[in-house]
Amino acid sequence: MQVELEVNGNRYRVDAAAAEPLSALLRDRLQLTGTKVACGEGTCGSCTVLVDDRPVLSCLTLAAACDGASVRTVEAEGDLLDRLRRAFTEEDGFQCGFCTPGQLMSALALLERTPHPSPDEIVTAMSGNLCRCGAYEGIAVAVARAAEAPA
């Protein structure tokens, strides 16, 4: 079926299978392989993207349900995202980097809604993104730091 959607500011019209997850549409059809799929069943958070500004799991989101939606992935541009990238670098908020695109998207969603989150709010908002390398401390500090940094 035809799906029209905007991804990182670009408009696409794709022919997607009804059962196809958004993650497959992004990775296989649009070659946006930054979004990672570590479990494919809603249990890790690595596939997190923003759909109409909400952080969702692209492995469980049907591409067909994204008709008319605006999607943002780790490949997106933006000042806040750049600030997060800088903070993740400076605070060592990643190791292997496989969970990182999802971490960045959850962080972005948090800071867009809550520009100055409390430490508890950061923990809550980021607790749906597993990191097996255990980069959590750097991640939490980086999100706090990106929130403080001047735009």
Partner: protein, 745 residues
């Protein structure tokens, strides 16, 4: 001049003797008094740009033109015989390009890859390559396999009863334990049961194979590109020149990804048959059924000591569940090698079970052995009426107790003191209370190998732009080795690490190198990098000497400049390199062996503070003090991250991670990340991390290594802290709410 030498290396507890090629090395050591520039400064990761923009291509991201998708049929039974399968029906499905069954696939490391008698639930039986995942799924349904279920054993005790060993039992004896135990003033006996911990690297095992008439290229998520290459050569009878293995970015391995894995062989065979590139990415479930785990183990200790707490004798056994692969990981090493104790009798029994093969998992054997033995020691401390740290101090040893060899360096006593001070150890009893939430503090020692060794090679070239390119035969799992190598090179060339480009992860780029594991990578490659950098430095200085008519010995490279020691000349390095035009200055280096006759080990101590909620049964690790002696710290930022990562995996082992096998069907019931719980951000404790070691005087660059040490003492320290908090000991990990509440019942 290169020469071939024989060296000894300890890899995850196994001593290997090997021949290696090393270059004569004239690089001067770093002067002891002068800190070597950028080395030891916090440095952010070189890979940040790629990893944070989504542009880093992991193996599972590869999309070659005309690439096919592969899926694997796996056995649903704990043990079965395949009685029929319709490979042709699958081949007839539109879009299917290759189908292979048992007998169609070469072996992997001498073992069957596709089984006609799959010995565990999740064992591979057939594989399909198709144009789309949907076509592959449809073909999978068409295979219609028929099974004859066979008897199975998934229980450790039953396997012991049947005496079915997967690897040879290991017996170790020194002194006369039996007599010494009978004579000991104090004896305690205790048992512990460690769970199977699943690696769950975020990137599953995966491979993309491109088989062409002129050779095979395999992108693999691997910790060992060279090992992968030799395995593929072995499986397919190819020469090294015709196999190229690439791993530019990988999403974690933790010991489960040495070599190309069966997935590499399957992808290559499918690609060979289809004449097209093939991508095979394991599902999370298949990952957890078939790619390895830390072995579950039942420990029994009988410890004899004097009233002063000095160890006299230990009898210990460990029954490990290896499943259908792996080897006898050194689970009793912490008994054998950490403390002075004259009489020991240790038995390790590696059992076969109808479960997937075990694999090394960050400090395999040693972590779970430390978890058990360090708790038994606390039981002894209690029996002797001693402070647990004092007991450990009293049993300190200055030589390796099993070989009598001296250590190249050992700062364990210092680690105890510093950890105790940082943790507030002396006031630990004040934490305790009778309320709903009970707090406690516990410690554990850390012991591991390290030090690295040959083979490791590096090449450096620098051109007119003064930005060196460093090529190292290795792969970066995400541990930050790449960045550390850039730091080491930057020091020699007087530039910033971010001006270095590091090329890794391609067997066609560099001759050979170590796999990433055993805490060996950096200690192995860094000296090679430095020596290669030194050659380039020498040539640049000679060039500068000619240009500026100052003796090379009076010149140095610092802060991006060529400077004369008298301060009269300061010119950007670029002024020298631009004269090169399109030429390069190149240098190469290799790793020299470690001194013979000495024990190379890392040491440390962790102290954990926990809070046990007696209502919910949930345990919070509030604080961990981690003090480790790892020799020289090249990049403190990366080192701290390694420590945090180890501690978190240790917390998972202690509190929530456990593979559960159904006793009646013999299949794993929690092969996904919902019921197999790894820690989240909300489980992160406050961590105080210190490194006590100075550069090891006997080792190249003084580096010992850090990958495994931080995970080793964490679970034991937590176990001891929980016992301190509750006044009773949980003998089985993980300490889930259920086990806590059952213990409190």
């Amino acid at each position: 001049m290169a020469r071939l030498i024989k060296t000894e290396a300890v890899v995850e507890g196994r001593t290997e003797v090997r021949w290696t090629l090393v270059e004569e090395d004239s690089t001067p050591e770093w002067p002891a008094d002068q800190p070597p520039g950028v080395v030891g400064e916090p440095t952010t990761r070189l890979t940040a740009g790629a990893r944070l923009s989504g542009s880093a291509r992991y193996t599972s991201d590869m999309q070659l033109p005309r690439q096919l998708e592969a899926t694997v049929l796996r056995s649903p039974h704990a043990n079965a015989r395949l009685t029929s399968i319709s490979l042709d029906a699958a081949r007839a499905v539109p879009g299917v390009r290759a189908v292979i069954g048992p007998g169609d696939c070469p072996q992997f490391d001498g073992e069957a890859v596709l089984h006609d008698e799959p010995p565990y639930g999740g064992a591979a039986v057939a594989a399909i390559a198709a144009e789309t995942r949907e076509a592959a799924d449809e073909a999978m349904a068409a295979l219609d396999p028929q099974w004859e279920p066979l008897g199975f054993v998934v229980d450790l005790d039953q396997s012991l009863e049947n005496q079915t060993f997967q690897d040879d039992p290991v017996e170790y004896e020194r002194g006369d334990a039996e007599t010494a135990l009978a004579a000991a003033e104090l004896t305690i006996t205790s048992d512990y049961l460690a769970p199977a911990q699943l690696h769950n690297s975020m990137e599953p095992h995966c491979a993309v194979a491109d088989w062409r008439p002129d050779g095979l290229t395999l992108w693999s998520s691997t910790q060992g590109i060279y090992q992968a290459r030799s395995q593929l050569c072995g499986s397919f009878g190819l020469d090294q020149e015709h196999v190229r293995v690439i791993c530019h970015f990988m999403g974690g391995g933790f010991g489960s990804k040495f070599g190309c894995g069966p997935e590499g062989v399957i992808a290559a065979e499918l690609s060979r048959r289809a004449g097209r590139p093939v991508r095979l990415v394991l599902s999370r479930r298949d990952e957890n059924l078939s790619t390895g785990y830390r072995t579950p183990a039942r420990f029994s200790f009988t410890i004899g000591a004097g009233c002063d707490g000095r160890l006299q004798a230990v009898e210990a056994s460990a029954v490990m569940g290896l499943g259908t692969g792996g080897w006898a990981y050194p689970v009793l090493e912490p008994v054998k090698s950490v403390y002075a104790c004259e009489h020991q009798h240790l038995m390790t029994l590696p059992m076969r079970l109808n479960l997937g093969p075990a694999a090394a998992f960050r400090a395999p054997g040693v972590m779970e052995g430390t978890w058990a033995f360090e708790q038994a020691l606390d039981e002894l401390a209690e029996a002797a009426g001693l402070d647990p740290l004092e007991l450990r101090r009293r049993n300190h040893t200055d030589v390796d107790p099993s070989t009598g060899r001296p250590y190249t360096s050992k700062r364990l006593l210092e680690s105890y003191d510093l950890a105790a001070e940082l943790a507030g150890w002396d006031a630990r009893d004040e934490l305790r209370s009778d309320g709903r939430v009970r707090r406690g503090m516990g410690c554990a020692s850390q012991y591991w190998w390290g030090g690295g060794g040959p083979p490791a090679y590096a090449d450096v070239r620098i051109g007119s732009d003064a930005k060196p390119v460093l090529t190292v035969g290795m792969q970066d799992l995400g541990t930050g080795v790449t960045t550390a190598c850039a730091v080491v090179l930057a020091e020699r060339l007087g530039i910033r690490p971010d001006q270095v480009t590091v090329r890794t992860g391609d067997t066609d780029l560099a001759g050979h190198g170590p796999f990433s594991g055993g805490s060996m990578t950096l200690a192995s490659v860094a000296p090679a990098v430095r020596s290669a950098g030194h050659h380039v430095r020498t040539q640049l200085l000679e060039l500068a000497a000619d240009m500026f008519e100052i003796a090379a010995s009076d010149l140095e490279l610092t802060e991006g400049e060529v400077r004369s020691t008298d301060g009269t000349l300061r010119r950007p390095i670029h002024d020298v390199t631009e004269k090169l035009g399109n030429a390069w200055v190149t240098g190469s280096g290799s790793r020299a062996p470690n001194p013979d006759g000495m024990a190379v080990n890392t040491f440390g101590c962790q102290i954990a503070q926990v809070a046990v909620d007696t209502l919910t049964g949930l345990i919070t690790v509030e604080r961990v003090v981690a003090v480790h002696d790892i020799g020289r710290v090249v990049n403190p930022m990366g080192a701290r991250s390694q420590v945090l990562g180890g501690i978190l995996q240790g917390i998972g082992f202690a509190l929530s991670e456990e593979r559960v096998v159904d006793p009646t069907t013999g299949t794993v019931v929690n092969a996904g990340l919902e019921d197999y719980k790894i820690p989240t951000l909300a489980d992160l404790p406050e961590v105080e991390c210190r490194f006590v070691g100075e550069p090891d005087p006997e080792l190249a660059l003084g580096i010992k290594g850090l990958g495994e040490p931080p995970i080793i003492p964490t679970p034991g320290a937590i176990g001891n802290a929980v016992a301190h908090a509750l006044g009773l000991r949980l003998r089985e990990a993980p300490y889930t709410p259920r086990r806590v509440l059952e213990a409190l019942q």
